[in-house]
């Protein structure tokens, strides 16, 4: 009996073990339920929405979360314009020579994540075609091509030729070594950008099915921009060379093919822009615009950046607090309206930018006229008089001294001059009697004779300044009232640069209706316009001018020069600039320069101009106040002063006090490939010569 029970227990135990072993197979062999696969995502439109959300969250959009210093997906200290020469900022304002101190790393690494998502969609969606209508299916395929085109475009403008990964790299099915893709030539890369944009255009619908998705015209817009870039590089780039490992021309174009390539790309740029123009779906924003009414033209250009129904917007990146917000207002607000985080005036327009505009009295060399025939300062009754007739577009871009913002006069004044005005006031920048407006002259007004009471002002201090926003030198005016030397919004010289240290503040993108209590980091929610009709007109005009210079007079039956003239005229009319004399103005090399200048005025602070001066290859070579950026160059500011004796204002123009130095060498038009990527791969080449 005892033995029997023992056997029974043994048999039961064995049976239990065997049955539990075999049952493992059935119960546990199921896909992990916490991983969502293609069969779930590509099953219906809701799943696709998730997939596309991930794609769009990785898109290389240069918006309120982009800066040259920190690249994409980082909204700290975002001050668009500070690297393109339109403005300077305390925390920015230098030439773009690398990908900065990108907290997120160079774009190189990030690009391939999105690239894989796009390739994955292109390769696997066809198997799930039955789940969608033809329209939906084509839209999704178009989105994938659009994403891929945007990635390759963002890479090409930074690095030149890149690995053209157009299939999913199967890992771990293959060894990593078998999946190495070398860099292609720059020409092949731009051709891939072109092909992907064309596929996107062919597949995407006329209007975005969901706000935020791309559509045909969005793809055409970016295509025209990308092709303008490619055509310019093919034409103007001088930097070329072969990869050390692959002997591939990874940057620059073959001298034998560059002329034809540039013509091809400019033609594509023109055709893409022309297709948008002919569609009639978009128009320059002119809701409040009225002919010969500068105030209306100005207000119209301010409103166009905040009107969600604007006919000019082709593509916007939208924000909504608290889910997705940015801090543009906090970083760029004029000092006197500073918000709780303590940032302000991160974006101070340069005088060089302001001088591009019409309606300002200028010297024969194009600089602003602040001195009379005797070389003394011109005196103005009101601080706003000097810009009284300025082109409305300037005021829509820049807060000029004495302008109104958020119902407040923006008080920009460098100091108070208490000296005599009999016989005129001589230029202030003099040390020990020697006036010097070159780079060798006094850097700040703290050093000039009128302030230090030397030279012509020996023993007679005649200039009073404020060194920061809280401690002011106070001047008692002839009528007995007291006045702070500096304005509420600066400038305060170099000791406090959270003020308008060039003499100007930015207006573009600043929300005029945001209460001061909400001027905070991560609190702004205005949209960033990534692509607008104004740029399309400028793209068409520039491509047309370049093609004309290359000996082409018409494309698809469109005469190029008249088109360029019409486009530029429309932009200038809306802006309130002086009208052009005739189509001759846009012809030839001078015409091209006029079109480029128009671009700098229209698209400043929109993350476009820096790429323009890079693709024109003029960033290192353009003369800038007597120097070039290859030697290191400086921008200028305009400093308003109040003469207490005359009760009038005068302006001093010269190098800005911070002496922000812009320096770039020609080879820095191509960014370095991250060193780790080069050393770990047997095929990825560093930029030749570096």
């Amino acid at each position: 009996m005892v033995m029997k029970t023992k056997y029974l227990v043994f048999i039961i135990a064995i049976a239990g073990v065997i049955s539990s072993l075999s049952s493992c197979k059935k119960f546990l062999d199921i896909p992990p339920q916490n991983i969502v696969g293609e069969e779930d995502l590509f099953a219906n439109n809701d799943g696709m929405k998730l997939y596309l959300s991930r794609i769009y969250s990785q898109m290389p959009f240069e918006d309120f979360k982009y800066s040259p210093a920190r690249q994409f997906f980082d909204d700290w200290l975002v001050t668009p314009g500070t690297n393109e020469g339109s403005s300077l900022g305390r925390d920015a304002g230098e030439a773009m020579t690398s990908e900065g101190w990108a907290r997120n790393g160079a774009y190189w690494g990030r690009a391939f994540n999105l690239l894989r998502d796009a390739n994955n969609l292109l390769e696997k969606l066809p198997a799930y075609k039955a789940n969608f209508s033809d329209e939906e299916y084509n839209d999704y395929i178009g989105e994938a091509y659009f994403a891929r085109a945007m990635v390759f475009y963002a890479l090409a403008k930074r690095y030149g030729g890149v690995p053209l990964v157009t299939k999913i790299l199967q890992y771990p099915e293959n060894e990593a070594a078998a999946l190495e893709v070398p860099r292609s030539t720059e020409e092949e890369t731009w051709n891939q950008v072109l092909a992907d944009f064309d596929q996107a255009v062919a597949n995407l619908p006329e209007t975005s099915p969901v706000k935020g998705y791309s559509n045909k015209y969005v793809a055409l817009g970016f295509k025209s921009e990308a092709m303008l870039f490619a055509g310019s590089v093919a034409k103007y780039n001088k930097i070329t060379g072969f990869g050390q490992k692959t002997k591939v021309r990874v940057i620059g174009f073959d001298p034998g093919t560059s002329v034809a390539a540039s013509k091809k790309y400019f033609t594509e740029a023109f055709k893409a822009a022309e297709q948008i123009i002919l569609s009639g779906k978009y128009a320059l924003y002119k809701k409040k615009w009225a002919a010969n009414d500068k105030e209306a033209q100005y207000q119209n250009m301010v409103d166009m950046f905040f009107d969600a129904s604007s006919s000019e917007n082709i593509y916007t990146k939208d924000y909504k607090w608290p889910d997705l917000a940015h801090g543009f207002d906090a970083y760029n607000i004029p000092r006197q309206l500073m918000g709780g985080n303590g940032y302000s005036a991160g974006n101070c327009p340069t005088l060089d930018f302001v001088e591009l505009f019409d309606g300002i009295a200028k010297n024969p060399n194009g600089t602003i006229k602040v001195l009379d025939a005797n070389g003394n300062y011109i005196l103005f009754d009101k601080i706003t008089d000097i810009f009284a007739n300025a082109e409305p577009r300037l005021r829509a871009n820049v807060i000029l001294p004495g302008d109104i913002f958020k119902a407040e006069v923006i008080d920009i004044r460098r100091g108070i001059f208490t000296g005599s005005v009999a016989g005129g006031i001589a230029p202030l920048r003099a040390v020990n009697g020697a006036t010097n407006y070159t780079i060798g002259g006094p850097q700040t007004y703290n050093q000039v004779d009128a302030y230090t009471a030397k030279g012509a002002f020996a023993g007679k201090k005649s200039l009073f300044l404020s060194q920061n926003g809280t401690t002011h030198e106070v001047v008692t005016l002839p009528d007995g009232t007291k006045m702070n030397a500096g304005g509420k919004s600066g400038p305060f010289g170099t000791s406090d640069m959270t003020a308008a240290f060039t003499g100007f503040a930015i207006r573009k993108w600043l929300n005029p209706n945001l209460p001061q209590s909400l001027v905070l980091e991560g609190r702004s929610e205005q949209s960033f316009i990534l692509m607008r009709y104004g740029e399309i007109l400028l793209n068409a005009a520039e491509a047309a001018a370049e093609l004309t210079l290359a000996g082409v007079s018409s494309v698809d039956g469109h005469d190029l020069l008249p088109e360029a003239y019409e486009a530029i005229s429309a932009i200038r009319e809306r802006a309130g600039a002086d009208p052009l004399a005739g189509p001759g103005d846009v012809a030839g090399q001078n015409g091209l320069m006029l079109i480029r200048k128009e671009r700098r005025k229209e698209l400043a602070f929109e993350n476009k101009i820096l790429w323009d001066i890079r693709r024109w290859r003029t960033q290192h070579s353009d003369q800038l106040n007597g120097l070039t950026q290859s030697d290191g160059a400086y921008y200028r500011g305009l400093y308003p002063f109040y003469s207490s004796v005359a009760n009038k204002y005068f302006f001093d123009a010269g190098f800005e006090e911070a002496r922000k130095r812009f320096r770039i060498t020609e080879q820095e038009y191509y960014f370095l490939i991250p060193g780790g990527e080069v050393s770990k791969s047997p095929v990825i080449d560093q930029q030749p010569g570096r």
């Binding site: 070329t240 010097n436 070159t438 060798g440 002259g441 080879q667 080069v678 010569g689």
Partner: protein, 278 residues
């Protein structure tokens, strides 16, 4: 709490013991030194110190840790000499790039036309000399004069490599036309660098005093259209602004042609001289 302390001590002990294994690679201690000289005169090719000067590039061929050797770059001293005393023993390819005809020349298909780089063993103190053809030669003429806080110096610029020789060597690199080659030979700027440092040059200059004379074929001033007729003639160049009395400055003249080696247009220099401002 006591347990915690013991645990901490145990981990600390483990952590310390794990340091035991020493780095098994001896410190690099070999020396590479050398100079870059003009093949015709044997004089050193003077240069700037930094990325716009003469660059020395080492590629360690004996290192098998990666598929391709990583370039190791450093720069010539202003006298046209170089030295690095912390090099691993091994076989290296060495090339120099500066304001002279490239010693490694590659055509538009990526094929090598000429390769005068050196491949050698670096062991102990290894001395090399590169004989090159500089683009320009710059010499002082007389001694600089000082008046009113400005330094005036007279220089003579000549071509160290003849136009014909330049064209013969550069043309095959990109099937350049004669017009292209003339453009490359064009002298774009002549400079008088001023600095308070003896290492004066492109990277070390005082913008307030340095004079840059740019030449441009379309300049309205005929004097600034072409430097070619002034080659071989005394050319006087004066510093800008007023250098304060009592300062010591160093000056150097430089000029360059419109041709980039390794994508950088580099200057040829003369030697820096000291000027004491009275």
């Amino acid at each position: 709490m006591k347990h915690f302390t013991y645990l901490f001590l145990i981990f600390l002990g483990l952590w310390w013991t794990s340091c035991k294994k020493i780095d098994n690679f001896p410190m690099p201690s070999e020396t590479i030194k050398g100079k870059v000289v003009d093949v015709v005169t044997g004089e050193p090719v003077l240069t700037d110190q930094g990325s716009e000067g003469t660059r020395v590039r080492l590629m360690e061929l004996s290192w098998k840790g990666s598929a391709n050797p990583e370039p190791f770059d450093f720069f010539c001293m202003k006298e046209g000499i170089f030295q690095n005393t912390k090099i691993f023993k091994g076989t290296y390819n060495i090339r120099v790039d500066g304001a002279f005809i490239p010693i490694v020349r590659i055509n538009a298909n990526g094929d090598t036309l000429a390769d005068e780089s050196k491949t050698l063993e670096i062991n102990g103190v290894t001395d090399v000399e590169f004989k090159v053809q500089p683009f320009l030669k710059i010499e002082w003429v007389g001694t600089p004069t000082v008046a009113n806080g400005k330094v005036s110096a007279t220089i003579k610029v000549t071509r160290a490599v003849s136009r014909a020789d330049f064209k013969a060597k550069i043309a095959p690199m990109g099937n350049y036309s004669d017009q292209d080659l003339d453009d490359m030979l064009y002298i774009t700027d002549v400079r008088l660098f001023v600095s308070e440092s003896p290492y004066v040059g492109f990277r070390e200059k005082d913008d307030r005093f340095t004079t840059i004379v740019n030449f441009d074929k379309n300049n309205t001033d005929p004097e600034l259209r072409d430097f070619e007729p002034k080659l071989g003639m005394p050319y006087t160049i004066t510093s800008q602004n007023t250098i304060p009395a009592g300062r010591t400055v160093f000056i150097r003249a430089a000029a360059r042609i419109n041709y980039a080696t390794e994508n950088i247009k580099r200057h040829n220099y003369n030697e820096a001289i000291r000027v004491d401002m009275p």
